[in-house]
């Protein structure tokens, strides 16, 4: 009788033990974690202007359990197009959506209204809450440093600062440059230009030709291209300082059509955005500094700048 009880007791204990261990075993067997799905919704008609950011994000995703997708939201669809893309990505199971919006204020309101704060990370432009949900270049610092560079390297007396839009990407930089140059011998004047390509090119040429200004400070890609084109036509060269990170900007700089470029490091932005979503600590994030570079013809082919400015061509 006692042996029978002993048997029953041990059998029950053994069953319990095996059940617990099977549970542990099954949990341990999940070698492959479920991938984190990350989607980048980037404003633009294609992803060309985001190639550095895409490369950075893809590099960060190497060896990580995540799938990164890149969606461009055509400019003509504006903010609504971006929202549609965000919602589609979330519906399709994206864990996080990284947004570089054309209309930061509207996007901020949208995130607030939909309570997507935990799902959306602002990249490149815009700051929603704390730094936790935003990966940004320090635009103000960029503006100050670029202003100081101009003071140190430019003999001009009067420069005209131009952009085709006044938005989060240009306003803060503009203000920082103005503030920095205020205490120098260089006068700077700001002018909002037409976004229409032909009009812009002509306006820029006219401004360069007028002789009223010693050069341009361009705050966006459109004005940078227009200034470079104008430069090639102008009989008397003007100074061109651009805030841009397109491959065209590098080309124009290398071709002496522009004098210096403040280059936002989209590669690091993309890299850090993925790290942020994966909650991975990047020990060197503070070494990266303000995530921008200021370069000119002399330094463009320096060992450091060459590797940062020129994307690998496959």
């Amino acid at each position: 009788m006692r042996n029978k009880r002993l048997f029953v007791g041990f059998s029950l204990a053994l069953l319990l033990l095996i059940s617990i261990e099977t549970y542990i075993y099954i949990n341990n067997s999940e070698q492959k974690k479920e991938d984190v799905k990350l989607s980048f919704v980037l404003t633009g008609d294609n992803l060309d202007k985001w190639e550095n950011l895409v490369a950075g994000a893809e590099t960060a995703a190497i060896d990580e359990d995540c799938i990164v997708d890149f969606i461009n939201s055509p400019v003509e669809y504006g903010f609504e197009g971006e929202v549609e893309n965000i919602e589609r990505q979330l519906d399709e199971g994206a864990d996080y959506v990284m947004v570089a919006s054309s209309d930061y204020q509207a996007m901020k309101e949208y995130v607030k209204a939909t309570d997507y704060a935990d799902k959306i990370v602002f990249v490149k432009n815009g700051l929603y809450k704390a730094d936790k949900t935003s990966i940004l270049t320090n635009d103000y610092q960029l503006g100050c440093d670029f202003g100081n560079y101009i003071i140190d390297n430019c003999q001009a007396k009067k420069l005209i600062m131009v952009s085709t839009k006044e938005d989060i990407n240009t306003v803060e930089i503009r203000e920082a440059i103005e503030e920095t140059l205020k205490n120098s011998s260089i006068n700077v004047e700001y002018r909002l230009m037409s976004a229409t390509s032909g009009t812009l090119n002509q306006s820029m040429y006219n401004l360069g030709q007028s002789g009223l200004y010693n050069g341009f400070i361009t705050l966006d890609n459109e004005t940078m291209e227009a200034a470079a084109k104008a430069q090639s036509k102008l009989k008397a060269k003007v100074l061109v300082y651009s805030v841009d990170n397109s491959r065209e900007a590098v080309y124009y700089l290398d071709s002496n059509d522009i004098n210096a470029v403040a280059f936002e490091d989209d590669y690091s932005l993309g890299y850090l955005a993925v790290c942020e979503a994966l909650d991975k600590k990047v020990s060197t994030v503070y070494d990266v500094g303000a995530l921008y570079y200021i370069t000119d013809k002399d330094s463009i082919h320096s060992e450091q700048m060459e590797k940062v400015l020129f994307p690998f061509v496959k």
Partner: protein, 605 residues
């Protein structure tokens, strides 16, 4: 439902551990041996398996590296062949003024343009002699400022491979910049019959190297990168992240490693590093596999082994407990039955016989021993009893010589006084006294005979004491046929005469009563003497080794002992006394007839 007595179980285990029971010893030692053996085997198997698996993984990576090394070598050899071909077949044989050099260079470029970005020949003073594809030198570009130029000028006898850099010497359309690895060498130029020195530059397409490595890095564990002899990164899957400071790499240290596998700790994580040097260039292919990834796939094996081990240990513990219980249960039961013997229970049928052959044999042997011991003890006890009885009977049978002398003296006196009837009566009484004393050697007689004996004794003593006391014998006839031990009343009467009424003047009374009460027989001898002090009374029935003369009480103890020897302890002699009132001696006997006694009724021992 009966609740599990957990505390009780713990107490049992504690008790067992203190007693060091066989079951505990068997369970513990078997369990310890089994677990140790299993742990050793598991450890040996596991470490061997992991070690083999790691070696296999490292070997696999070594093979991958070998393959890349071979591919890279082929690629570099090809580039060197192009350079050789250009130099030995074209440059050496042609005059610089000839147009043929451009054509030959174009042909060579076209044939290898998948892997080439450009071929150029530059004079020692930095003038561009020829280039393919045909391109315009960028304004402001001075070839003599280029690293490849200065390196080649320093060591003119060798091939020189540069680190990757942007090809920025020639104008390009569509904003494209190519990453190249420059292969440069010093060449002898033939200019209108004069020898001049120049540099032949072959810009290899970096993407060919990049693709070679990225294909390897797409799958598998870890990653592979390429450094030059100084540790400068030529290829790394996270090259740009390293340049921008987002990621760190141990490339400088890796460049100092010899070919083979190494274990290094970098940024707190351990990793296996395999290094292979590429010929001609001094470049090193470095494969890095984090140890956690190398061993990560064995988590499942570890979990599985853990399950097997714990379940096996559980089964071993259970098996050991169960087997030791089966083995020791008969021993424990045998031990329990021996405890009964320890307590004086010699019931041999109570000895457990069961379990294995050895235990059964042991049980049977013990049972046999107990049986023999029991018999021996019974015999011994019987012998002792008999001996005791004999001693007591012998003691009791001694007739006080003074009594006999005085009785005979009284008889002589009666005859001399011609009191023949009294003399005859006394002699008859004496004769009857002796006859009953002998009783044909029987110790058990009827109460009737014992009373007759007492009556004769009283008659003799009354004569001797000249009727100074009165004796009343009053016995229930119903008990006369019941048994008693002989000569137990007479000593009491003797005591009453000697110590109580014998010294009194005419008013001494001895009452001898016999009756039945509560199924037993009571015989009282009551006197009205001066009584016995309590301290003396308390010692009257205690054992005496020798007689200390008159009043030593050996007679009373003897009576009590004899009754106890023949009957149960419930029976015997009890003394009551009060000073100046008298003494009462009460004998209690079982009510048994001779036949009942002989038939072994339960009162008798």
């Amino acid at each position: 439902m009966k609740r599990f007595d957990f505390k009780g179980q713990i107490q049992r285990v504690k008790k067992a551990s203190k007693r060091r029971s066989i079951q505990l010893i068997i369970s513990l030692s078997f369990t310890a041996v089994s677990i140790l053996s299993m742990a050793f085997m598991t450890f040996a198997f596991y470490t061997n398996y992991i070690s083999t698996a790691k070696s296999t993984a490292i070997e696999n990576n070594e093979q991958v590296i070998e393959q890349i090394s071979w591919n890279l070598n082929s690629y570099l050899k090809n580039m060197m062949r192009i350079s050789d071909s250009m130099y030995y077949n074209v440059i050496k044989n042609l005059d610089l003024t000839s147009d043929t050099m451009n054509k030959e260079m174009d042909l060579l470029y076209e044939a290898n343009k998948d892997n080439l970005i450009s071929i150029a020949c530059v004079s020692q003073d930095g003038a561009l002699i020829s280039a393919a594809p045909i391109a315009t030198r960028k304004s402001g570009v001075d070839f003599t400022d280029q690293t490849w130029f200065s390196t080649t000028e320093e060591h003119i006898e060798n091939f020189h491979f540069s680190t990757p850099h942007v090809q920025n010497m020639f104008e390009s359309s569509n904003y494209r910049y190519y990453w190249v690895v420059s292969l440069s060498r010093s060449v002898d130029l033939n200019f209108m019959g004069y020898n001049r020195r120049g540099i032949l530059l072959v810009d290899m397409n970096y993407s060919a190297i990049e693709q070679m490595f990225s294909r390897v890095n797409e799958g598998g564990t870890g990653y592979v990168y390429l450094v030059d002899s100084e540790g400068e990164i030529i290829y790394h899957p996270k090259q740009k992240a390293i340049y921008t400071g987002l990621v760190n790499e141990n490339n400088i240290v890796a460049a100092s490693y010899d070919d083979g596998d190494h274990i290094e700790t970098f940024e707190g994580s351990k990793r296996a590093v395999i290094v292979k040097t590429v010929g001609y260039t001094g470049w090193k292919i470095v494969s890095v596999v984090p140890m956690e990834k190398l061993t990560g796939s064995y988590n499942q094996l570890r979990a599985f082994m853990l399950i097997i081990i714990t379940v096996t240990i559980f089964l071993i513990v259970f098996g050991n407990i169960f087997i030791s219980k089966i083995v020791t249960d008969p021993i424990r039961r045998l031990e329990a039955s021996l405890k009964g013997i320890e307590d004086g229970d010699f019931d041999e049928q109570g000895i457990y016989i069961g379990g294995s052959h050895e235990i059964r044999h042991l049980g049977r042997t013990i049972r046999s021993l107990v049986s023999q011991m029991h018999n021996l003890m019974e015999v011994r006890v019987k012998e002792q009893k008999e001996k005791r009885r004999s001693e007591l009977n012998a003691l009791q049978a001694q007739i006080n010589p003074h009594f006999l002398y005085n009785t005979l003296d009284s008889v002589i006196w009666m005859i001399e006084a011609e009191k023949y009837p009294e003399a005859i009566s006394m002699i008859k009484s004496l004769a009857s006294l002796f006859r009953i004393s002998l009783s044909k050697g029987n110790n058990i007689i009827t109460i009737k005979d014992e009373i007759t004996h007492a009556r004769n004794y009283v008659a003799i003593q009354k004569v001797r004491y000249k009727n100074r006391f009165e004796a009343n014998i009053n016995v229930d006839p119903a008990i006369e046929n019941c048994v008693t031990i002989k000569l137990i009343i007479q000593p009491l009467i003797e005591n009453a005469i000697y110590h109580a009424v014998g010294e009194m003047e005419d008013d001494g009374i001895i009452d001898i009563n016999g009756y039945e009460k509560d199924g037993d027989i009571f015989i009282e001898v009551v006197d009205n003497g001066m009584g016995i002090p309590q301290d003396v009374l308390d010692n009257l029935l205690t054992e005496k080794t020798e007689s200390k003369g008159k009043g030593s009480g050996i007679g009373l103890w003897n009576i009590n002992q004899r009754i106890n020897l023949y009957f149960k302890e419930d029976y015997g002699l009890t003394m009551y006394s009060e000073l100046d009132e008298g003494t009462k001696a009460v004998i209690r006997l079982p009510k048994l007839t001779i036949e009942e006694y002989m038939g072994g009724e339960g009162y008798a021992k």
